[in-house]
Amino acid sequence: MAQVAELLQYVATGLLVGGVYALMSIGLALIFGVMRVVNFAQGDFMMLGMYLTYFYALSGIDPLLGAVLTIPPFFVLGWVVHRGLLARVTGGGDPQRQMDAQLILTLGLSLVITNAATMILTPTPRGIRTAYATQAFAAGPILLNQARSYAFVMALILAAAVYVFLTRTDAGRALRAAADDPEAASYQGIDVRAMHGLAFGTGIALVAAAGGLLATYYPIEPSVAGNFIVLMFVAVVLGGLGSIPGAFVGGLVIGLVQSLTLLVLPFQLQNTGVFIVFLLVLYLRPQGLFGRRARAV
C-alpha cells in the first residue's frame, strides 16, 4: 500500500513538472511547425525568462505574475531576432540547406546567450523566495508542492490561452495554415514571412513564461539552458514534430518519465529514461504520437 502511495507521489510530481515542460515544448513545436526551424536557443530564452522573472521578484512582483509579464518583452525580442537573424539566413535557396543553416545559427545564438549570461549575470545560482515554495498541499497520501502546483496551473492556463489563440483568432488560424501549406496560405492573402515572425515571437514568449514558472522552484543560473533543451526536444519529437497538442502531451509524458526514473535510478541519472524514450521514438515511430505527414519541403 505504501508502495502505491509512493508510486502515486512520483506520478503526481511528474505531472506537475510535466505541465511546465509542456508549456516550454509548445513554444518549440510552434516554431518548428510553422518555420521548420529547430531552435537550439530555446533553452537560453527560457533561462533569460527566468532571470527577468527574478528581477521582477526583486521589485516585489510575485513570480507567477512575473512569468506572465515576461510575455510581451520576449515576444518583441523573438520578433526582432527573427527579422534580424533568421529571416536573413537563406542557405542559398535550397530548403534543406536553409534548415541546416538556421539550425546552426540558433546553435551559435545559444552559445552567445549562455556565455554572455555567464559573463554578465555570473554563474552564481539565484533563487526566488516565496512563501509557497516550501509548502505543500496534502491530497490524501500525496504531497503536492505548492510552488509546483501553482506553476502547473499557470502553465495549463497559458497553454489554454495558446489553444484559444490558435483556434479562435484569424492570426492563429493563419499560423496553422502557414504551417500546413505556405503556398496555399499566401493565396489567401496570408503574409507567410510575417507568420514566421509571429510564430517565433510567440514561441520565445511561451518558453520565457515557462522559465518564469520554473523559477518558482528551480535555481536560476545560466547553465539551466542546457539542462532543459534536450527535454524539450524529446517532448516535441515524442509528440510529433510540429504538432502543438503533441508537444503538450509530450511534455507531460517526459515529466512523468523523468520522475518515474527516480524510482530506480539516482538523481544525476534522472534523464536516462528520457534518452531511452528519445531513441525509441526515433527508431520505432519517428513521426511521434500525433505526427503529421511530412510537408513537402
Partner: protein, 588 residues
C-alpha cells in the same frame, strides 16, 4: 604539375610549416596554442569526413573524441598499458561504436539524423557517471614518461599533435581523390540521383562515418594527455567539444580539407588569447566568440571562408572568360538505322502501385524490345512518373513484376538496377552542383570503371553528346539543353543497356528539341534501348517507334504512334468523351 600532385605538395608544405613553427616558438604557452590549433584542425577534418564530404551533419561527433580519451586513460589506470597502444584500442572501440550508431541512425531522414546524433554523447555522459568515472586522472609516470605520452618538453606535444594532423590530412586527401570521395559528394549533393547512378548511398555513408570516427578518437586521446590530464564526462562528451569542432569546420569551410585548417588557424588563437587576457574577468568569452562566429558565418558565408574566397575568385575569372560559346547544333548524323530487334529486354507484368487514397498504377503490362524507342504518354495524373519510379527501383509495387534481361528485378534498389544496366534521367535535372560537368559524369562512370578509367569514360560520354568543351565548367552555368545533355552523358557513362528518359524535351526551344531528338537517336544507334515519357507530342511522334498510353494508372493502348493517336479511347482520355462525341470520327 597535375592538380593531384599539387594537393599533396600543399599538404607537405603545411606539415613543414607546422614543423617550422614548432621549432621557432619558444614559450610554453605558445606551444600550447600551437598544439591546440593542430588538434582542433584534426578534429575538424575528422568531422568533415562525415559532415562535409558526405553531407550528414553530425552534432554528436564528440562521442568518438570522448571514447578516445576514456579508453586510453582507463587502460593506463587499470592495466598500465601505454597510451601509444591504448590509442589503437580506442580507435577500435570508436570504429565499433560508429558501426553500432550508424546502422540505425542513417536510416533516419534529414533532421531526425541530426537530432539523434545529439543523444549519443549525452548517453555516454550518463553511462560514465553511472560507472563511477566522473573524474579519472592520468597517473604520473616518472620512470618512462615518453612511454606514457607524458612529455616534459612542450614541443613534443606539438609534434605529436602535428603528427595526428598530418595523418588526418593524408586520410582526408586519400578520401577526396578516391572513388569513395566522388560517391560521397554525389550522395551529398543529390542522394536520389546518386542512387540512380549506381551509388550505394548507405554503404558510402557508413564507410565515411567509420573513417571519421578513428581520427576523432586519436585526437581525444592526445588531447587528454597534452592539455587536460583529467577526464570528466562533461569535458570530453560535452557541448564545448562539438561547438569547437563545428566552429573550426564551418568558419573555415565545409567539405574541403582546407576548411578546418583555416578555421583552426583563425579561431583557436583568437579564443585562446581572449581566454588568457580577459578570461578571468569575463568567463565564457570563448563561447561568445564561437557563437558569434557561427552566426556571422551563417549570415554572410554559410559555406565557410574557403568557399567564399574561391567563389569570389572564380566569379571574377568567369566574367572574363564568359566568351561566346558556340551553341550546340544537331549532328548531321550518319547511322540512324539500327532498327529495333525482336527480343524483349524489359517486361512489365501487372504492376500495381497504390498511395494513400490513390491507385497510381493498376495492372500495367507491356514489353520493351531491344533497341526500340518506346514512348510512354498519357494525360496528367496517368501514373507515368510513378511507373518510371517503379521501373527504376525508387518504388516497390504491391503487385506485379518487372523483368530485365530475363531476370526478375522487382524491388531492387536503384543503384543495383543501374549496375545491371538500367539507367535513368530525371524530369528536373538533378545535378551535383559543386562538381564540374566532367566530375558529374564521372560519378556515373564509377559504376563500371575504376577511378583511373572513369575520367576517360566520362570524356567519351561527353563527346557522344557533344558536350566535351563544357567539361571543366560547373553545371550552374549551363543552359537547359546543356543540362539535359549532361544528364544524358552521365547516364551513358554507366554503360546502360536501357535508359529511362523522363521528359527530356520539356522546356526546350525548337532548336533544342531538334538537338535532343538527334542525340536520342544517336543513343539508340549505339545499341541502347530508350523508353521516354513525354508530353511534347509533335516531337515524340517523330522519335518513337511505338507508344504506350497510360490513363488513370491503367494501360490504355499500345502500338504505332499514328494508330495510337487516332485511337478513340486515347482521344477520349485526353480530351474527354464529349469531345469525341462532338467531333465524330476525327479528321485532320
Amino acid at each position: 604539375m597535375t592538380p593531384r600532385a599539387r594537393g599533396w605538395l600543399a599538404i607537405a608544405a603545411i606539415v613543414v610549416a607546422g614543423l617550422v613553427l614548432s621549432f621557432v616558438v619558444q614559450e610554453r604557452y605558445h606551444h600550447r596554442v600551437l598544439t591546440l590549433v593542430f588538434l582542433w584542425a584534426a578534429m575538424g577534418l575528422a568531422w568533415n569526413i562525415i559532415s562535409g564530404y558526405a553531407g550528414q551533419i553530425s552534432f554528436g561527433h564528440q562521442v568518438f573524441f570522448g571514447i578516445g580519451a576514456y579508453v586510453t586513460v582507463l587502460l593506463v589506470v587499470k592495466t598500465g598499458l601505454t597510451p601509444w597502444i591504448g590509442m589503437a584500442v580506442a580507435v577500435g572501440v570508436a570504429i565499433l561504436a560508429a558501426v553500432l550508431i550508424g546502422l540505425p541512425t542513417f536510416r533516419l531522414a534529414g533532421i531526425y539524423f541530426g537530432l539523434a546524433t545529439l543523444a549519443y554523447p549525452l548517453i555516454f555522459r550518463i553511462v560514465m557517471d553511472w560507472l563511477g568515472y566522473q573524474e579519472v586522472a592520468i597517473p604520473m609516470k616518472r620512470d618512462h614518461p615518453g612511454w606514457f605520452m607524458q612529455f616534459t618538453e612542450p614541443r613534443s606535444f606539438d609534434l605529436l599533435a602535428l603528427g595526428v594532423l598530418a595523418a588526418t590530412l593524408v586520410l582526408s586527401r586519400v578520401i577526396e581523390t578516391s572513388r569513395l570521395g566522388y560517391r560521397l559528394r554525389a550522395v551529398k549533393e543529390n542522394e536520389q540521383a546518386a542512387e540512380a547512378m549506381g551509388v550505394d548511398a548507405f554503404r558510402a555513408k557508413m564507410t565515411a562515418y567509420v573513417l571519421s570516427a578513428a581520427p576523432a578518437a586519436v585526437v581525444g586521446a592526445v588531447y587528454i594527455h597534452a592539455i587536460l590530464f583529467i577526464v570528466t564526462p562533461e569535458a570530453v562528451f560535452g557541448l564545448l567539444v562539438i561547438s569547437q569542432t563545428l566552429v573550426v569546420s564551418l568558419v573555415g569551410g565545409i567539405g574541403t580539407l582546407w576548411g578546418p585548417l583555416i578555421g583552426a588557424a583563425v579561431m583557436v588563437p583568437v579564443s585562446e588569447v581572449l581566454d588568457t587576457t580577459v578570461g578571468d574577468r569575463l568567463p565564457g568569452i570563448q563561447g561568445v566568440v564561437y557563437g558569434a562566429a557561427l552566426m556571422l558565418i551563417m549570415l554572410y558565408a554559410p559555406e565557410g571562408l574557403f568557399w567564399r574566397i574561391q567563389q569570389t575568385i572564380r566569379s571574377r575569372a568567369g566574367r572574363r572568360a564568359a566568351a561566346v560559346r558556340p551553341a550546340i547544333t544537331a549532328p548531321a548524323d550518319e547511322l540512324m538505322a539500327s532498327a529495333p530487334a525482336g527480343n524483349v529486354l524489359l517486361e512489365v507484368r501487372d504492376v500495381s502501385k497504390a498511395f494513400i487514397g490513390l491507385q497510381a498504377l493498376s495492372e500495367v503490362s507491356f514489353d520493351v524490345h531491344e533497341r526500340e524507342i518506346l514512348g510512354v504518354i498519357g494525360p496528367n495524373g496517368a501514373g507515368k512518373t510513378t511507373l518510371f519510379n517503379v521501373l527504376n527501383g525508387f518504388l516497390v509495387p504491391e503487385r506485379g513484376a518487372v523483368r530485365f534481361c530475363g531476370e526478375t528485378v522487382t524491388g531492387l534498389r536503384p543503384n543495383v538496377l543501374c549496375q545491371r544496366g538500367l539507367g535513368r534521367t530525371f524530369q528536373v535535372p538533378r545535378t551535383f552542383p559543386r562538381l564540374t560537368v566532367l566530375e558529374n559524369v564521372m560519378v556515373g562512370a564509377l559504376v563500371r570503371a575504376g577511378l583511373a578509367d572513369a575520367r576517360g569514360v566520362a570524356r567519351d560520354a561527353l563527346t557522344r553528346v557533344g558536350m566535351l568543351d563544357r567539361a571543366d565548367g560547373l553545371p550552374g552555368g549551363l543552359t537547359t539543353l546543356e543540362l539535359r545533355l549532361m544528364e544524358l552523358a552521365r547516364c551513358l557513362a554507366t554503360s546502360p543497356k536501357l535508359v529511362l528518359l523522363d521528359e527530356p524535351l520539356a522546356g526546350l526551344s525548337t532548336d533544342g528539341v531538334d538537338v535532343m531528338i538527334a542525340m536520342i537517336r544517336r543513343v539508340r544507334a549505339g545499341g541502347i534501348t530508350v523508353v521516354i515519357i513525354e508530353h511534347t507530342m509533335q516531337a515524340l511522334l517523330r522519335l518513337a517507334d511505338r507508344l504506350v498510353v497510360l490513363d488513370q494508372g491503367r494501360r490504355l493502348a499500345e502500338g504505332a504512334p499514328n494508330d495510337v493517336t487516332r485511337n478513340p479511347a486515347v482521344i477520349e482520355a485526353y480530351l474527354g468523351k464529349r469531345w469525341l462525341a462532338r467531333a465524330g470520327a476525327p479528321t485532320c
